[in-house]
Amino acid sequence: MTTTTQTHTTPSLITSIWHWLRDNLLTPWYNALITIIVTPIVAFVLYRILAWIFFAAEWDVVKQNLRLFMVGPYPQEELWRSWVTLGIVVLLSGLSWGAWRGREWTAPISVVVLGILGALFLPITAASKINLLIMAAIFVGGQFLGAWKGEHLRKYVVWLWVLSFFIVLIILWDVRPSSTPPFFEANIPSGQVGGLTLTILLAVIGIVASFPIGVLLALGRRSSLPVVKTFSILYIEIIRGVPLVTVLWTASLLLPLFLPSDIRVDKFIRAVTGITLFSAAYLAENVRGGLQAIPKGQYEAAQALGLNYRQMMQYIILPQALRIVIPALVGQFIALFKDTTLVLIVGLLELLAIARSVISQPEFIGLQREVFVFIALIYWVFSYSMSYTSRRIEERLNVSRR
C-alpha cells in the first residue's frame, strides 16, 4: 500500500515515530480523519483533568478523612487492632510470596519503596507512619522466612490463611460464643468497622465462603440424582434471576426467621451471608463451564484406575476445571468487590457509603468530585491488580503445562 521504499539504515527516532503514526493512526484515510478530529478532544479533556487534579482540587477533604475511608467509624483508641489485623495479613502475604516465589526481589523492593513513600508523603499521624514502615518490614521478614523454608512451608501457609480468617474476626470484633468472656475490654459492634477494610472483608469472605458452595452446586447441577440436580438448578437460576440488593434484603429479613429468637444475627453476618449465597450461584455457573471443558476420557481414565467419585473429582477433574476458569473467577471476584457497595442497604458503611457521609457534612460541601475521584482510584487500583495477578497466574500455569 505504501509508496515509500524500505531503507535498511537504522531509522532515527523521529522517523520511527513517524512510521508508527503513519501505520497506526494515519492510514487508511478515514483513520487519519478520525485522528485529526479526536486528538484535540482528547488533549483538551486530559488538560482539564490534569489542571483540575493539580491546581483546582482541594485534596484536604481526603487528608482529613483518610482514617474514615480506611476503617470507617472504628474507635480511634482501638485502632491498633486493625493494625494488628493488617500485620497478620501482610505477614502471611510475605510468607506465601517467599514460599512460592522464593528469594525474588521485585515484590519486597516495591513494598519497601511504597512504605517509605507512604511514610514520607501520606497525610497521616507519625504513629501511623511508623506502623506503615513496620508493615513493610514484616512483609520482607515474612518473605525471607518463606523463601528459607520454601516448599515445606506451603501446606502450613495455606492452613495459616484459613486460621488467620478467624483470628482477624476475633481481633477486629471480638467474635466469640456469647458464653465466653470477651478478649478485649472494648466491645466493638460490627457496624463500626467500615470503609475500605469492610469492603475488603466482605469481598474476601464472600468469595472464600462461596467457593465450596459454588463448586458443590456445579457438581450438583451435573449430578444424576434428580433431587440434587433439581435443587441445584433451581437455586442457581433463581439467585441469578434476582439482583444482589434483593438477596441482601432477603438475607437480612429472613435469616432471623430461621434462627432461634435469642440469637440476634449481626448486620455483618447477614450481609456476608447474602453476598455468599449470591456469589455461589455465579461461581457454580463458572465452574460448570470448566467442568464441561474436561474431556470424557479424563473421567474414564480415573474410573478405570479404581478412583471413586470423590477422588476422581478432587484429584483429576476439579484441578483441571478450576484452572480453566481462573479468569472468570477473578472477573467474578472483581465484580463482587465492587458490588459490596450495596451493603449500604443493611446499614453497613463500606467505602462508598463513607464517601457519601463525608460529602454530606457541611464543611465538605462541594467537594464531591475530590472524594469520588479518590475512591474510584482505590477501586481501580484493587480491581486492576487483581486482573493483573490473574493474568500472571494463567501465564505461569500455561508454561508449566507445556
Binding site: L305, N308, Q311, Q320
Partner: protein
C-alpha cells in the same frame, strides 16, 4: 497356572473373565447382541472386527465403563452387578489403556503413575514412586519421569499410560486400539512393550488392527461383527483357513490395506 491352550468353553477356576450372553443397548440400538466367552488366566485375547462392531463396548463392559443390560460378567470371581463396591473392586484388578492415552495433563508423568496406588491402595509416596520408576524403566522412558504428558511424543505418552495402568498391579489389562492414534514410527515401541507384557504372563484383552501383533502374540483371536462374535480361534486358524465369509472378507480388506 501356565497351562495355555484349551477350549474356551470349559468352565474351571482358570477362567478369570466369564461373559454369558452379555447384551448392551444404546437407545434402540443393540451394540452387543449376546456375547458368551471366557478368558483364562495369562491368556492373550485379541479382538478384531470392523468399526462399529462393538469391540470397544465389549471390553468397556469388563470394567463397567459401560453398563451391560443383560447377561452376566464375572471377573476374577466377582460378579459385576450394579453394586458400587464390586465395581470398584474389579476396577482395581483391571487396568485399561485407551486409544487417546487419557493421561492427566496437569500432573507430571511420575504423578500420573503414582496417583492411583497412593490414593486407592493407600501406599506411601516412596513405595509408589519406587514402583513407578521400575515401571518407567520397563517401558523405556525413566528419563521422562518429571515431564508433563504434553511434553512427550504420542508413543511415549501411550507407554506412560501402560505404566500407569500397571502401577495398580492389575491381574488383567484391557487395551482399546492402543496404537490407532499413533504415527507409524511410534507404533512399534508401544507394541514392543505389549509383547513383553504378554510374555511376562499378564492376562490381556486387546482390541487392535495390528494383524502382525495378533498373529505373533495372541493365544486366541475373536472376530466380531454387528455386536456378535462371528468366529474365534487360534491365529493359525484365522490366518490360514477362516470359516466364515465375513471373516474372510474382513481379513482380505485389512491385510491388503
Amino acid at each position: 497356572m501356565t497351562q495355555q491352550q484349551s477350549h474356551p468353553q470349559t468352565a474351571n477356576g482358570d477362567d478369570i473373565i466369564i461373559m454369558e450372553n452379555v447384551k448392551k443397548r444404546f437407545g434402540d440400538f443393540w451394540a452387543l447382541k449376546g456375547i458368551t466367552t471366557r478368558v483364562k488366566r495369562q491368556e492373550v485375547v485379541v479382538i478384531i472386527g470392523p468399526s462399529g462392531s462393538g469391540k470397544s463396548t465389549l471390553i468397556r463392559c469388563i470394567n463397567h465403563l459401560e453398563k451391560h443390560d443383560e447377561g452376566r460378567i464375572i471377573v476374577d470371581g466377582i460378579e459385576l452387578s450394579h453394586d458400587v463396591r464390586n465395581i470398584e473392586a474389579i476396577r482395581r484388578e483391571v487396568g485399561m489403556v485407551f486409544q487417546q492415552f487419557n493421561l492427566f495433563p496437569h500432573m507430571t508423568v511420575l504423578d500420573n503413575i503414582t496417583l492411583a496406588p497412593r490414593i486407592v491402595r493407600k501406599w506411601p509416596r516412596e513405595k509408589a514412586e519406587k514402583l513407578a520408576m521400575e515401571l518407567l524403566d520397563r517401558v523405556g522412558i525413566a528419563d521422562q519421569a518429571h515431564k508433563y504428558p504434553g511434553q512427550l511424543s504420542g508413543g511415549q505418552q501411550q507407554r506412560v499410560a501402560i505404566a500407569r495402568a500397571l502401577a495398580m498391579q492389575p491381574k488383567i489389562m484391557l487395551f482399546d486400539e492402543p496404537t490407532s492414534a499413533l504415527d507409524p514410527e511410534m507404533i512399534k515401541e508401544v507394541l514392543d512393550v505389549m509383547r513383553e507384557l504378554a510374555r511376562s504372563g499378564m492376562t490381556m484383552v486387546v482390541v487392535t488392527h495390528e494383524m502382525g501383533f495378533a498373529r505373533e502374540v495372541a493365544d486366541r483371536i475373536i472376530f466380531m461383527d454387528a455386536g456378535q462374535i462371528v468366529e474365534e480361534g487360534t491365529p493359525e486358524h484365522f490366518f490360514t483357513n477362516p470359516r466364515h465369509e465375513r471373516t474372510k472378507l474382513f481379513l482380505s480388506q485389512i491385510l491388503h490395506h
